[in-house]
Symmetry: C2
Subunit: 109 residues, 2 copies
DNA sequence: TCGATGTACATAGGTTTTCTACATAGGTGA
DNA sequence: TCACCTATGTAGAAAACCTATGTACATCGA
């Protein structure tokens, strides 16, 4: 109540992840940070949401992962899009625009 | 798999219902139809989603219901917004815009 | 008059997704 | 050495939605 929880709408997390990974190989932790910055602190992805989502997307063949050294830090799993993932991203973006446009229509009615 | 299911994003149904009821007393079935028309057939609210949502909103004190004759048809439950519901609608609309804007930022990044 | 269709409400059961909370571990700087 | 940041992960619970099904009344056409 004291704060706006910034909860994600179900279904948008995959889209946000795919879009963020599309910029090039990036590890999970970095994905969450990029989304946070790109959305101007509005979209905060919790770790407990992020990692299961990444595993889900990898299982579906949309992402592929590779363990690498992260800067001077510990090992990290770097994700990148597969061809299937790129296609899925296009579809999900189109769907989002369709959806958001429809909601806008209702809210303006 | 063969078709685009037009599934609703979790969290937006309440907003759509509140907005639709804000136009004046309307029964459940009519709410689904109005949303369908207003969104140009994009947002299709299933009955199995609609009625539990209406009960939920009534339980929360955002909607109030009254049984009335529906035209020449059978009895129907007409819903209208409570003061609390109107306030909630304002909040949810603001939140939606915040959220949709944030997603747009990420998608354009 | 009988059946199909449209209106209208409702619940049960299942799936998916997300959140909170916890657990682990390596590297860095004070 | 101790705290903090990076980084990955799982368990358990809650919420919301969908599919499928059921009821009932009214109307219209054959």
């Amino acid at each position: 109540m004291a704060d706006k929880k910034a909860e994600l709408l179900q279904g948008t997390l995959d889209l946000l992840i795919l879009k963020t990974v599309a910029h090039g190989p990036i590890h999970g932790y970095g994905i969450a940070q990029r989304i946070l910055v790109a959305s101007r602190e509005v979209l905060q992805v919790q770790q407990g949401s992020l990692y299961p989502a990444l595993h889900r997307l990898e299982r579906k063949g949309l992402l592929k992962a590779e363990w690498k050294q992260s800067g001077s830090g510990p090992m990290a799993k770097f994700y990148s899009l597969t061809a299937k993932g790129r296609k899925q991203l296009q579809e999900e973006m189109a769907q989002w625009h369709r959806y958001a446009g429809a909601v806008a229509l209702v809210l303006e009615s």
